[in-house]
């Protein structure tokens, strides 16, 4: 599975593009990094790939996953996982139900599904926390639970939007290795936007710096 951006351009209707066309290919298990000053449209780029672009924007070029153009697909059919700086665990559901919401439909049967969630909780160091209120978790626990939820949906690619910027230094180090280890283990491509050069180093993948488009 490879994620390819082919001459991808975003503009507000009739205005100049936000940045020059992007060409990028991310191999399975690889984590590519996009850096750039704030306001350049890094998050907008991720919105476009995930399928949430506001209607005021227009998009040209292609996004291919495994050679197939996915831009015509609705977001839920793209199989692209999203991670933000906040965990975005659903506050009305328990930790376990958050993971169960993510768990792919291919796992069938109540017992099997419960077991899959419990196993994922175990991998994230959250044994026995199925019924916990997400608000009661620590920052690192939330991040790990969110990553597990994303991975349980069996995504074909992962988008990370400043994923570690809200964690303190020690935790950041730990979450980086936890995240990139899982990406490698799953053998899926990941694309991260960040401010932090150390994120890029830890990702050990190709990098790209966004500059404003010159007219």
């Amino acid at each position: 599975m490879t994620l390819q951006l082919i001459r991808l351009e975003i503009r507000v209707t009739d205005a100049a593009p936000l940045f020059p066309p992007i060409c990028l290919s991310v191999a399975p298990g690889q984590s590519a990094t996009i850096m750039g000053r704030s306001g350049i449209g890094k998050s907008t780029l991720l919105d476009a790939i995930a399928g949430h672009l506001a209607s005021a924007f227009c998009l040209t070029g292609q996004v291919r996953l495994n050679g197939r153009d996915i831009l015509h697909l609705p977001p839920e059919a793209r199989r692209i996982g999203l991670m933000f700086q906040d965990s975005m665990l659903f506050p009305h559901l328990s930790v376990g139900d958050n993971l169960a919401f993510g768990l792919a439909r291919t796992v069938r049967g109540r017992g099997a599904r419960r077991a899959a969630v419990e196993a994922a909780l175990g991998q994230a160091g959250l044994e026995g926390m199925y019924d916990r209120d997400p608000a009661s978790l620590s920052g690192g626990q939330k991040s790990r639970a969110a990553l597990m939820r994303t991975l349980l949906a069996e995504p074909a690619a992962l988008l990370l939007d400043e994923p570690f910027s809200k964690l303190d230094a020690a935790l950041r180090q730990e979450m980086r290795s936890f995240t990139f280890r899982h990406i490698k283990a799953r053998d899926i491509p990941a694309l991260m936007v960040t401010h932090d050069p150390q994120d890029m180093e830890a990702a050990e993948g190709p990098g790209l710096v966004l500059e404003p488009a010159t007219p």
Binding site: A50, G51, L73, P74, P75, G81, F90, T150
Partner: protein, 568 residues
Amino acid sequence: MIKRTDKALRAGVLLVLSLGVIGPLGAGLAQTAAASFGYMPALGAHEFGLAAYRSLFDLPGVWTSVRLSLITGGTATLLSLMLAVGFCAMAHDRMSDHAAARWLTPFLAAPHAAMAIGLAFVLAPSGWIARLLSPVLGLDRPPDLTLVNDPMGIALILGLMVKEVPFLLLVMLAALTQIPVRAHMAAGRALGYGRGLVWIKIIAPQVWPLIRLPVMVVLAYALSTVEMGLILGPSTPPVFAVFVVRLLNAPDLNMILPGSAGAVVQAILVAGAFAMLWLGERLSRWAGLWWLRAGGRGSSTEPLLRLGSGAVMALFVLGALAMTALAIWSVAWRWPWPAVLPETWSMRAWVGSAAGWRPALANTLILAFVTAALSLMLAIAWLEGEDRGRMARARWAEALIYLPLLVPQIAFLYGLNVLYLRIGISGGMLATIWAQTLFVFPYVMIALSDPWRALDPRLDRVAASLGAKPWRRLFTVKLPLLLTPILAAIAIGVAVSVAQYLPTLFMGAGRVATLTTEAVTLAAGSDRRITGVHAALQAGLPFAVYALAFVLPAVLYRNRAAMKGGIR
């Protein structure tokens, strides 16, 4: 990726709105206007002309009526606005939004008619205030003064203000959350301006565009209220809206055409008031800029602000007394003057009038929950349609929501009822539900819009990235997260429906009795205890639903810390 089903959702909402809300409004207005110009085939009137207007203005007292409406409505709105601004300037930084919402809710929930009846109980010469003052003033019998239904309309102005100030406060506090008040206040005061002046010169001009529409709603209501005018306003002649309702409901059918002319004049009065508001806005802008550029730091406005806040607190006390008076009168038995509390208590009024209030309560409940449910479904469909289209709301759509609240009810309800008669649904629940929903939907929509948009869009995106389709995201993520504001919107919808008087009166054709229609009828003179029973029920119902809306999320989400007031 905008799919066809998403477009269908939006088209459906637009269709329901135009056929269900805007259509009836326009048709009712057109019908009223046609009748006012002499065209109403059902009455055998076919000749276009101004005869109806001429006979309207030949009626005795009509000009006094118009003047009364303009004075009471205009004064109440202007004073309410000034007091609300002053109170915000004093109290904004000391009051959390949650605390404010809790304080204001009972006043917003109380139906206009119940509040008016309670005020009459408090203000009347034999009422609570006179009783409390009698030892001080040495009164041995109720003072011989016209304190309610006074010819100047002061009781009506007070009544309107008790309801309008809390509403304007709520709207202003919501608007203030969108403005960096603290920073602007600090900057202004550092430049040598006092608190009140920063408020007037810097904050108020930023708040105004956000509260202009709600102020217009208040103005339109104050100029055209029927139930409050009946209960608190002068009687001969009454305020203009009451004058017009009397013509339209007169046994003499010849009064219907002049009555329709009156309905059109009522609409013109409101339109004229809007024009004055616009002109006032222009003038204040011009004068305000001149004043601002002159740079005067002025004298302290603190005493004025204190006075204003004191007046607001007095209004709150008055409103609370009014609500309490309803409850006490409903269980009073012997209550001679000047005793402050009844000598003997009894449930006889409740038991004795049960045959009257039971069916009225049933009708009120059905109307309230059906209209609130319909409005809620329409509002959710609209907001979800906006989300799926990934579009911000157009300005015309915002105006469309407010439209039924800006046109005086009397200007189109009678005409609409004529049309309902023609399609054979007048005088029943269906017509009443339809007519009430016209006014319930806007409030439900307004109440739900801000919390809906405040919901973090990333939650929906994460759900989509986990493979959840739009309907699943709506029902398992968005709606549960929005439970608190949804319940609040239902409570507001119920309160608005319970308060409706004119739509029930016209569309129900006297056959759909609700707590409000009964209470207004009873207020015209019969036993205070029985009036108290109906008005207390009328006020109690919205209170109960609001209380439920507060308690239910707290119980359901007792183990979810982030759901406790975090999302509103």
